[in-house]
C-alpha cells in the first residue's frame, strides 16, 4: 500500500505528484538529436580505426556510447532544470514542463550511466569504458555544474565532451588512442564554438535572462563574431589534416577543403551582420550549415574508407 505525501520539502501542498510521465518523456531526457550525432561520430571512429571488431560487439559499443551520451543528457537536464524553465528553447523539456520529477531524471541518468559504462567494459574493453565514464563526468560535472554558469569559455572547454565519441569508438577497436583519433576529436572540438556561438548570437536574450555567461553576452557580438571566424578557420584546416596523416585520401581532402571554405565564408557573413540585426539570418544559416558540415565531413571520411577498401573487397570476391 502506497502512502501519499502531498507536501514538498517546504511543507507546501503541491497536490498529487504521482508521475504521469510516459516512456517518450524519458526518451526525451536522452536528448535524441544530440545522441544521433554521437552515434554517427562514434560509428565513424569505430570504422576508421585500424583493426577489426566483432560486428556484434561493434553494435554493442555504439549502443553503450549512445546510452552513455543520453545518460549525461538526462543528468544535464536534471541539473539545469531551473534555467531550462526560463529559456524558450528549453522550457518544454520534460522536467520544466512538469512531466518528470527532477529526482526521477537523476535516478534515470545515474542508472543509465553505470549500465552503459559497465556493459561497454565487460563486452568490449575497459579502456573505452573508462573513456566513456570520463566523457559523462566531463559533460555533467565539468561542463554542466562548473563551467556553464561561470565562464564564457564554457562551450569551448565543455565541447570536449561532445568530441570524445569518435575517440571512444576508435578505442573500442584498438584499445587505445592515436594521432588519428585525436584528429577526429579535434575536428568536433574546434567546430563546437563556431556552431554554438552562432546559436548563442540569435538566442542571446535567452541566455542573458538566465545569467549563463555565453560569449555574446560577456564579450559582445563583435568579439564573438571574430572568434567564430577563428574557430571556423581552425576547424576547416583540421578537417583536411586526415589526408596528410594517411587516415583519408586526396578526394576526401579536396571535399573537406571545399566544405571548410564554405564554413569560413558563412562565418565571414556572420561577421558582416550589422550589430542589432534582429533576424540574424547569417547566424541562423551558419548554425544550420555547421550541423550539415559535421555530418558531411564524417560521412566523407566513411565514404573514403569504403572506397579505399573496395578494390580489396572486389578482389576477394572475384
Amino acid at each position: 500500500m502506497t502512502v501519499m505525501d502531498n507536501h514538498d520539502a517546504l511543507g507546501t501542498d503541491r497536490g498529487s505528484r504521482l508521475s504521469e510521465a510516459s516512456a517518450r518523456d524519458f526518451f526525451e531526457l536522452l536528448k535524441p538529436r544530440v545522441m544521433s550525432l554521437v552515434v554517427f561520430t562514434a560509428f565513424a571512429g569505430l570504422i576508421l580505426a585500424p583493426g577489426q571488431i566483432n560486428p556484434v560487439l561493434g553494435v554493442i559499443s555504439i549502443l553503450c556510447i549512445a546510452v552513455g551520451a543520453g545518460a549525461s543528457g538526462a543528468l544535464n537536464m536534471w541539473y539545469d532544470a531551473d534555467i531550462d524553465a526560463i529559456m524558450t528553447r528549453t522550457a518544454k523539456r520534460p522536467i520544466p514542463a512538469g512531466r518528470i520529477l527532477p529526482q526521477e531524471a537523476l535516478a534515470f541518468g545515474l542508472t543509465l550511466s553505470v549500465f552503459s559504462v559497465v556493459i561497454l567494459g565487460l563486452a568490449v574493453n575497459w579502456f573505452s569504458a573508462g573513456l566513456l565514464a570520463f566523457t559523462i563526468f566531463f559533460y555533467v560535472v565539468v561542463y554542466t555544474m562548473w563551467l556553464k554558469r561561470s565562464t564564457p569559455q564554457n562551450i569551448v572547454i565543455g565541447g570536449a565532451s561532445g568530441a570524445f565519441p569518435p575517440m571512444i569508438g576508435w578505442a573500442c577497436v584498438t584499445g587505445g588512442v592515436s594521432l588519428d583519433s585525436i584528429l577526429l576529436f579535434l575536428i568536433i572540438f574546434l567546430w563546437t564554438p563556431a556552431h554554438f556561438w552562432a546559436l548563442a548570437l540569435f538566442k542571446m536574450r535567452d541566455y542573458g535572462s538566465v545569467g549563463v555567461p555565453m560569449m555574446p553576452n560577456v564579450a559582445g557580438e563583435a568579439s564573438t563574431k571574430n572568434q567564430i571566424i577563428v574557430y571556423a578557420v581552425l576547424t576547416a584546416v583540421t578537417a583536411v589534416a586526415p589526408t596528410f596523416t594517411g587516415l583519408a585520401g586526396l578526394g576526401y581532402g579536396i571535399f573537406a577543403a571545399v566544405l571548410g571554405a564554405i564554413f569560413v565564408i558563412c562565418s565571414i557573413a556572420v561577421r558582416r551582420m550589422p550589430d542589432g540585426d534582429e533576424k540574424m539570418m547569417p547566424a541562423k544559416k551558419m548554425f544550420a550549415y555547421s550541423i550539415f558540415y559535421l555530418f558531411a565531413i564524417f560521412s566523407a571520411l566513411l565514404a573514403d574508407r569504403l572506397l579505399a577498401g573496395l578494390p580489396h573487397l572486389l578482389g576477394g570476391l572475384l
Binding site: M1, T2, V3, M4, S16, L18, S19, E20, A21, S22, A23, F26, N54, P55, V56, L57, I60, L63, I119, L122, A123
Partner: protein
C-alpha cells in the same frame, strides 16, 4: 491512512512505462545472451 488513488491518466502512463521497462529488460536479456555467445563461444570471430 490516506492512500493513493490513481487517476486514469496516471494508470495509462504507468502502463506505458511498465511496457517500455519490460521491453528494455527483455532487450538486456537478449543482449547478455548474445554477449556471452560472442565472448565465450567465439561466435562471429
Amino acid at each position: 491512512m490516506e492512500t493513493v488513488k490513481l487517476s486514469e491518466a496516471q494508470k495509462k502512463s504507468r502502463r506505458n512505462r511498465n511496457i517500455a521497462l519490460g521491453v528494455v529488460l527483455a532487450g538486456l536479456v537478449v543482449l547478455f545472451y548474445i554477449m556471452t555467445l560472442v565472448k565465450i563461444g567465439g561466435v562471429g570471430n
